[in-house]
Every structure is written in C-alpha cells, then in structure tokens.
C-alpha cells in the first residue's frame, strides 16, 4: 500500500514538474524611493509564491516569478511591463509607486494582460483609465481618511491642521485628506508641506501652532520627514492629538522616532490579533527566520489573490483570468477581521471601505486596535 502511495506521489510530482510553469511578472523597486515599502511587500509576495508551490502549485503547475526593478520610475516601468508580457507572463503584480503602476497600465490595457497592485493607495489608479485588466487591493487614500475621520468624529473636531510632504503620493494623500475633512465640515486652518530632504520642520510646525488646531492630520509618506514633524512637535511642547495615514503603520517608526510617538493614532490595514495574521507571521518566521509586518502581508495577499483567480479560471488564458478576477472573493492577511477582497459591480478597487482599523502607539510600540471601519 505504502509503495503504491509513493508511486502515485512520484507520478504526480513528475506530472507537476513536467508541466510548464505559470509565469507571473512582478515589477518592484529595489533602489528607488519606494524601496522601503516595495522590498518587504515583494518579500511577502515571494514567500506566498513559494508556499503555493510547496502545496503543489496552481492547476498542477508551479508559479514562476519574473521580477523586474523599475526604480519607481514610470518611464522604465512601462517598458518593463512590455518586456514581461513578451516573456509570456499571464499576470503582472505592481509593487512600486502609484505613478509607475499607472504607467504600466498603458501597456497592460493594450496587451490585454491582467495587472494588479496589492499595495498602492492612490484613488485614481482605477478611475483615470478604463482598463478592465487592472485591479487594486491596497487601501485607498479616501478609505484611510474616512476611517480616521470616523474615529475622530466622536472627538468633535472643529478645526484641524494638515501636514504632508512633497512626494507624489504624499501630495495625493494630502488632497484626499483635505477633501475628506472639508466634506465632513471640519475646517483646515493650516496646510503645510515638508519638502523631501528638509533638515527641520520647525517653520511649518510654528505655523500650525499659531493656527491653534484641535488636532493635526499627517498625510506624508516620507519617514525621515515625518520624524522631523514629531521632533518639532515635541520640542515645541505641543499637545493637540496627531492622526496619521497608514505610513505610521510601518514598524521603522518604533526605532527612528523613539520617544516621540506615544499616543499618535494611525490608520492601518493590519490587525495583529486576527487569526490569519498570526498564522502568516508564524509561517513566515518559520520559513525565513525573519519577523514579518504589515507590508509583507500586502505582497502575500496579492499573490494569493492572483492564485485564487487563476484557479477559478481553470486556465491561464488571460481573458478567463480577467473574468475570474472580477468575481473573486478572498479573505487574506490584510484588513479588519472578516474582511474579504472583492470587486462587486465591476469595481476594480477591492479593499473593503470598512476594512481598515485605527491603532494607537503605546510608548514606542504599535498598540491595540481602537477603531474599525467607517461606521
């Protein structure tokens, strides 16, 4: 009986290994401005692909990742998308900056190749181009501000300050934050920008201090510049509460902003108490020997979602994958408990508007979830 089992397994393995691989393209940033975000997300993605292959692959075939580095430069990014398509990928996962992902769409739309970003947050990615081959599962900037506002609503804010940086994404998120605040009837009394490479945030924080806000919202995504804001805040002895974008959810702040962030609330797509998160963290640690955090989860969910779509399509035909992708529902590592990625009614932004959580820094540690969703 045992020999029969081994023989069956050997035959199955031979069949699996003799099958051509399913090629999936990954465009990431290994040296540019997005590297701190792209690198861990891509590590999570690679871990996910290895896990899928360990379980036998998809449709009896292994996944083969073709990884390219676009340095977050849109001009290079589009050319790389073309290169990957020429190499036979059936899907492209975009892991660098929003403008680069946007540029790739010009190629994937024309080549009718499915593409998804599991980490970009710009709201415009699925609205500027009518590209039925593109999806986005990163939490949108508008969802972030809506979640933060829902949490802040109870605090009866009348006037707030808004601060961001001059990066593309920081500016984009700043606009979403401002629109969301004004829509809620909250007056933005100071709106400041910290330029990349600044050596201080003192003048901007002085202006905010003079405006006397009830709270300050941070939309910036540049870690070093955000730390300058915290330093000026502490140096000036300011007391108003700070509510931040998801950028504060990356664990680097626990070391570079040590002693500066106690009490800061931030929006996140990661609930450390969620069972899927605990399982993912344990499996990642076991496989790699390293700790994981929320950015790893974005990449992991991305490849798992694509695998679900290919499985549901039952084929690597791009048109069938596109149709399957639009109907997929998947509960992953990211998002509040019970949240599923989905693309109802033809939508292509799949992060549930009620899937984000608000967490608070307790000392220098990322602490508990204090609010979930927008309701």
């Amino acid at each position: 009986m045992r020999s029969l089992l081994f023989a069956t397994l050997a035959l199955f393995s031979a069949v699996v290994f003799s099958q051509p691989t399913i090629k999936i393209g990954v465009i990431t940033d290994r040296v540019g401005v997005s590297k701190p975000y792209s690198e861990p997300s891509t590590e999570g993605l690679i871990f996910g692909a290895e896990e899928i292959n360990r379980r036998g692959g998809i449709l009896g075939r292994k996944i083969e990742l073709l990884v390219e580095d676009d340095q977050s430069r849109p001009d290079i990014s589009a050319a790389l998308a073309r290169k990957l398509i020429d190499q036979g990928v059936v899907f492209i996962l975009s892991m660098s900056l929003t403008p680069a992902t946007q540029q790739q769409q010009t190629v994937t739309m024309e080549a009718k190749t499915p593409q998804m970003t599991p980490m970009n947050s710009g709201d415009t990615l699925t609205t500027q181009l009518p590209n039925p081959y593109f999806w986005q599962t990163g939490p949108l900037g508008s969802i972030q501000i809506a979640t933060l506002l829902a949490h802040a609503r109870a605090k009866n804010l009348k006037q707030v300050a808004l601060i961001t940086d001059n990066s593309d994404l920081g500016q984009l998120l700043g606009r979403f934050f401002k629109a969301g605040l004004e829509k809620s009837g909250i007056k933005v009394v100071a709106e400041e920008v910290i330029p990349r490479g600044a050596t201080t945030a003192s003048p901007q924080m002085q202006k905010i201090r003079a405006a006397n806000p009830d709270a300050m919202f941070m939309a910036g995504v540049l870690t070093a510049e955000n730390v300058l804001i915290f330093k000026a805040y502490r140096e000036f002895g300011l007391k108003f509460p700070i509510h931040s974008s998801y950028n504060l959810s990356v664990p680097v702040y626990m070391t570079v902003a040590k002693g500066l962030i106690d009490g800061v609330t931030f929006v996140d797509a990661y609930d450390p108490e969620k069972p899927q998160v605990k399982a993912f963290e344990a499996a990642y640690k076991k496989a790699t020997g390293k700790d994981s955090f929320n950015l790893h989860g974005y990449g992991y969910d991305g490849i798992m979602l694509v695998a679900e779509a290919i499985k549901a399509a039952g084929s690597t035909d791009k048109e069938k994958i596109r149709a399957a992708m639009q109907n997929v529902k998947y509960e992953g590592v990211m998002g509040a408990r019970g949240m599923k990625y989905s693309f109802p009614e033809g939508k292509r932004a799949g992060f549930d508007p009620n899937g984000m959580v608000v967490r608070v820094y307790e000392g220098d540690k990322q602490g508990r979830v204090i609010y979930t969703g927008q309701k």
Partner: protein, 291 residues
C-alpha cells in the same frame, strides 16, 4: 518675536550643515577646479558611520565622531586615487573627473543600499533630545551642538588657509597650478589632501544632521543640492563664503516657509529662485576670492 528667535536657532543650525557641505565642495574646487557632486553621498556615508559606531556598537560619541571623520578622510583619499588621478595623469579634460565622480555617486549610494536595510536608521543625539533656553534664544540641544562644531571647523579651516604654509600652498595652486608646481609644490599631494579634507567635512556634516533626519540611502542628493546652492551664493573663493551662503540659504528657506504669504508648497521654490538670481546677477557669489 519668540517664533523668530526660535526659527533663528533652527535656521542657523541648518545653515551650518549646508555651509559644511559647501565647504567640502570648496576644498576640492579651489585647488583642482573639480566640482565633486559626490559630497552628498559622502555625507550619507558619514551618517551611516554613525549608525554603525554610535547606534549599533554604542561607542562614546566623541570617539565615534573622530573615527567617522578619519574614515571619511580615507574614503576621500581613495576616491581621488581611483576616480580622479588616473584621468588627470592621462591629461583628460576637467569634465572627465567630474563625470567619473558622478559615477561614484552611484557606487556610494548602492554600496550603502545593499549593505543596510532600506528604512531610515536612527543615529543618537550626543546630548539627548532636549531643549536649551539660552537668553532669548531657544532650540534643541542638537541645534546648538551643530552650530558649535561647525564654527570650530570653519575657524580651523580659516586659520589653515590664512596662517599656515600648507594653506598658502593650497591658495597658490588655486591661483596658478603651473606656477605653484614650478615653485616646488607637490600638486598630487595637494589634490589628495583636498579630497581627503572634503570627504571628512562632508562626512561630519552627514553625521551632525543624521540624528535629526535619520540616516537613509537617499539623503545625499538633497544635501548635495543645498550645499552647492550655498556655495554659489557664498562664492567659491573663501571659506567664510561657504558659511555665509549656507546661512543665507537656510534663513531664506525657513523664513519663507514661516512668513511668506504663499501656499506652503510654493516656498520650496525659494532656494531655486535664490540660486538663479545669484547665477544671473552675481555669479562669483557674495565673497570674491582674494587676488
């Protein structure tokens, strides 16, 4: 008024950092005519020296700082040997070493990028994160520390150029390389020392600013631009010009950000405007070189 005085301390500290980077440029431009845009990356390497010695191995700050400066001097010396001297000895035009040094920008950045995780890294403050009130002036300990160290460096280099024979030989090379060589001045040695000194000063600037901005692999380019702007404003001829240019630039930046009645995003154009105005109306900078 309290805001202005607070800002004056912050702007002076930032201006000193810009001034140090400008000084690093100046130390190499004066005797060689070579504009070395790798100074920003040298500042970044100096900051990562702080990450290794002060954060990871928790060395005494003074010892760590001295080691970083010595290491950076060696880096500058080696850079000159590898990227500049072979070209100069083959009689290449002045543009050749400038382009080779631009290539070194990538070498330094990528070396750090692959050697350290991509996130910013904390570098400790020598006196902690606190606020010092000194008469009507108030600011962080680090701001006062940056100003004090920078003034010492500038005073040292001013004395070197004005009072020492070595400094005079640098000036002689700057005025006329051929005549200086005929007088027995070793041009190769002057070039080596200028690169070693430039790298040491740039590394010090990076180390001083890193507790505020954190050490990260992309921090070099903004510092290189700010230092170059300060150099254009102050003039390439005099040590005190580098400091003056740095201070003028940082005060323009920060006063515009605080008081100019324009949207915050537009104040980023102020340094660029200043650079253009100086290049058009006073290309020699505020302080001209002595004849």
């Amino acid at each position: 008024m309290q805001d202005f005085l607070e800002l004056a301390v912050s702007a002076t500290a930032s201006g000193c950092v810009y001034g140090l980077v400008a000084l690093a440029y100046l130390l190499m431009i004066r005797p060689t005519g070579i504009i070395n845009f790798a100074v920003g990356e040298w500042a970044m390497v100096g900051a990562f020296g702080g990450v290794v010695l002060l954060t990871k191995y928790e060395w005494n700050y003074a010892l760590g700082m001295a080691t970083v400066i010595a290491f950076m001097a060696a880096v500058g010396w080696a850079t000159e040997r590898i990227a500049v001297r072979p070209l100069v000895e083959r009689g290449a035009p002045i543009l050749a070493p400038i382009l080779a040094l631009l290539g070194m920008v990538m070498v330094f950045r990528e070396s750090i990028s692959v050697s350290f995780p991509p996130d910013p890294h904390a570098v400790p403050y020598p006196f902690g994160l606190g606020r010092l009130e000194w008469g009507p002036l108030g600011g962080s300990y680090q701001s006062f520390f940056i100003v004090a160290v920078s003034l010492l460096v500038f005073a040292g280099f001013w004395l070197f150029f004005e009072k020492s024979l070595w400094g005079r030989s640098f000036e002689a090379v700057a005025l006329n390389r051929r005549a200086a060589a005929l007088m027995g001045i070793n041009l190769s040695r002057v070039t080596s020392v200028s690169f070693a000194g430039g790298a040491a000063v740039a590394g010090l600037a990076g180390l001083l600013v890193s507790p505020n901005v954190s050490a990260h692999y992309l921090m070099g380019v903004p510092l290189a631009i700010q230092g170059f702007t300060a150099l254009v404003i102050g003039g390439v001829g005099r040590v005190e010009g580098a400091l003056l240019g740095g201070l003028l630039l940082s005060f323009a930046e920060q006063l515009a950000a605080r008081y100019a009645p324009i949207a915050s995003g537009f104040t980023q154009g102020v340094p660029l405007l200043l650079l253009m105005l100086f290049l058009i109306f006073r290309p020699t900078g505020l302080l001209r070189a002595r004849a």
